[in-house]
């Protein structure tokens, strides 16, 4: 093997350098995420109610994307029905409140129900791969929404109107905002933990090559079920918060708590930011939901088309997401020390080559 040995022998340390680079990236991601959330936490200081509700919605979508990231980003299973957990969380809070129960109980029940549902649903559908899995999850969400509507759960057609909490309107909204923010922070920390754990390594291995993962001793099926349950929990909590914040719910149709549009948003946000990264879904969620909300106001008629165009552009040019773009542009390949300019030009070349490999 002498032919393969390099002329110099600086290699004893490469492994350790890799670990250092990895943990540096982990730390930076976590800090970036916390910093972003800390900045958002200042929004209520402006005293602007419109801004508060805009950012409440944005943070909620961040949570949804962060939740989807567990199954879609880390495990690489394109779940197109994660809105079902959002709906379950929302319905649980609505039904609990309608029956005179406390809000926290509704949240708890919704989270438990969604976790259990993810487990039971995962048993059959996580045996499916690729498109089949995506279609199966999509179908389940639609079916559950229709069921709630048809059985008139919570009211005629499944529509629910809740009494607002017994608090000043502004204070209540501020509390909901911080509720979503805390949930997002918790999910961020959970993701950071996952990225360093055996569980996370197993999910990434499954995403990268499920057959090889199984052959190396990873019980792939149970890890996938675990990722599915994990992704259901923050999603259901967000649904529960949303129900009490928004007060009026419908199961189906646009804006319904089982609307597939939520699922699409989760996927899009996660991919724009970077699927399977710690801070990617947060960034993607902020960018997309901010654009959606502002374009809805500015170009009410064509915001759907604009969003569609964005999906196409992201798929073509950023299938690896913004975080990976940053990584490609800043990190030296294979741990070779390069100047920053050289790294950047090399990075641009790699990104161009990657885009070209999609046939563009």
């Amino acid at each position: 093997m002498a032919t393969h040995a390099p002329a110099r022998d600086p290699l004893a340390g490469t492994g350790a350098a890799g670990v250092r680079r990895e943990s540096r990236e982990w730390l930076w991601s976590l800090l970036a995420g916390v910093a972003i959330l800390a900045a958002i936490a200042l929004v209520p200081l402006s005293g602007d109610d419109a801004a508060l509700s805009l950012w409440t919605l944005i943070v909620m979508f961040c949570v949804l994307a962060q939740g989807w990231n567990f199954i879609g980003g880390y495990a690489g299973y394109a779940a197109f029905g994660n809105v079902v957990f959002f709906g379950i969380g929302a319905e649980a809070v609505a039904l609990t409140l309608l029956n005179g129960g406390p809000f926290w109980l509704g949240l708890l029940l919704g989270t438990l129900a969604a976790g259990l549902f993810a487990f039971l649903l995962g048993l059959p559908v996580l045996r499916l791969r690729g498109h089949y899995f995506a279609i199966a999850t999509l179908g389940i969400a639609e079916a559950l929404g229709e069921l709630v509507a048809a059985k008139a759960i919570g009211g005629p057609g499944g529509e629910v109107s809740l009494t607002p909490p017994d608090l000043d309107f502004h204070i209540a909204n501020t509390l909901f905002f911080y509720g979503f923010l805390a949930l997002s922070l918790l999910t961020l920390l959970g993701t950071a933990w996952l990225a360093r754990s055996r569980f996370g390594v197993a999910l990434v291995a499954i995403r990268e090559n499920e057959e090889a993962a199984e052959a190396l001793g990873i019980p792939t099926f149970w890890y996938k079920v675990g990722a599915f349950v994990l992704s259901a929990l923050p999603t259901a909590l967000a649904g529960g918060l949303y129900a009490y914040w928004f007060l009026s719910l419908q199961p189906t149709g646009e804006g319904g708590v089982f609307d597939v549009g939520y699922s699409v948003s989760m996927v899009l946000m996660t991919f724009l930011g970077g699927a399977g990264t710690i801070v990617g879904p947060l960034i993607g969620g902020i960018i997309i939901e901010y654009l959606v909300q502002t374009t809805t106001v500015a170009f009410g008629d064509i915001h759907g088309q604009l969003l569609g165009a964005l999906i196409i552009l992201v798929t073509i040019f950023l299938p690896q997401g913004l975080i990976r773009l940053v990584r490609e542009l800043t990190v030296s390949p294979a741990g070779v020390k390069l100047s920053y300019t050289r790294r950047f030009t090399e990075g641009v070349r790699r990104v161009q080559r990657f885009i070209a490999s999609n046939g563009i």
């Binding site: 350098a17 670990v19 990434v204 090559n209 190396l216 001793g217 019980p219």
Partner: protein, 306 residues
């Protein structure tokens, strides 16, 4: 290539006592009447054989003989249609692949299956984290570095799984399997596509692994390599066992030559042997004929038996 052309005998200094398979020991792996059909077509047909602990068993056969199917059956990726597979005294045919990995069965894939998004070192760490040892992170990293050193991939540890050459992908397959700390290693054509020098290195590595007490099952297409590394060779043809014996016996078996190179070549070779036997000592003639086969066989079986 002299180091690769013959298996060291028991008296050779490179064979340590624990590497010598014990003929009386209970088999570490036994297949009993195992059949695997794909839509009615048998890929492995009523196959029975046993592997002794510490042995290197070579498995050869033309394309489509069922070699990779056999690896899949033992590794657990495939379930047999019928038959019993026993590993270390327990029936394993119903266990999923990850359970078999925990029991100490590791495999490589004929078409390398790296985790493409992970670098080489992380690829190997996965094996150490979840294999038979189930190590924690720091130890897993240490084991990964040792294994990479062993397969000569240390200087490529930072590359991504899809940035490797074919030869390095094969090394990575080996490294990942070794990191699980196997008792039984299933190698599915790890030498295919390598240069002669790389083949010699791979042979040396397999011997070293075997000296550490790992039982090895080598599926291979390259006759020369498998002869150099195997204690015994089993030949598959159309999913059936047509020969199982010492390397020299198997490679001289007319049935095997026919299966590999066709009937016409078998007749021709038999004629050559007769001619050679009259003019020279038998041993020398055999090795000369072997060298001939080596030169001629590779293009022929790639083209003729695809």
């Amino acid at each position: 290539m002299s180091s690769a052309s013959s298996r060291p005998t028991a008296s050779s200094p490179s064979g340590s006592p624990d590497a010598t398979p014990d003929a009386n020991a209970a088999p570490i792996l036994a297949l009993d009447a195992v059949t695997k059909r794909f839509g009615g077509l048998p890929a492995v047909d009523d196959l029975s054989f046993a592997v002794r602990p510490g042995e290197v068993l070579g498995i050869i056969g033309p394309n489509g003989a069922g070699k990779s199917t056999l690896i899949g059956l033992i590794g657990g990726a495939l379930a047999p249609t019928s038959g019993v597979i026993t590993y270390a005294g327990r029936a394993i045919a119903d266990l999923p692949p990850h359970r078999r990995a925990h029991l100490g069965i590791a495999r490589t894939f004929q078409i390398a299956q790296p985790f493409v998004g992970l670098d080489v070192r992380d690829n190997v760490i996965v094996g150490a984290l979840f294999g038979r040892r189930g190590l924690r992170r720091p130890e897993a990293a240490r084991v990964a570095d040792e294994v990479l050193e062993r397969v000569h991939l240390t200087h490529k540890a930072m590359l991504k799984g899809d940035q490797l050459t074919v030869a390095d992908r094969k090394r990575l397959e080996m490294a990942r399997a070794l990191a699980t700390n196997p008792r039984l290693l299933l190698l599915d054509e790890v030498m295919a596509g390598l240069t002669p020098t790389e083949v010699a290195q791979a042979v040396e590595l397999i011997r070293a692994i075997n000296r550490d007490g790992v039982t090895v099952l080598v599926v291979e297409h390259i006759m020369r390599a498998i002869k150099g590394v195997s204690d015994r060779i089993l030949v598959l043809h159309h999913g059936r066992k047509i020969a199982e014996d010492l390397p020299d016996e198997v490679l001289a078996d007319p049935k095997v030559i026919e299966a590999y190179l066709g009937e016409r070549y078998a007749r021709q070779r038999a004629a050559e042997r007769e001619g050679a036997a009259t003019s020279a000592a038998t041993g020398a003639a055999t090795s000369a004929a072997d060298a001939d086969t080596d030169a001629a066989e590779e293009p022929e079986w790639k083209g003729g038996l695809a």
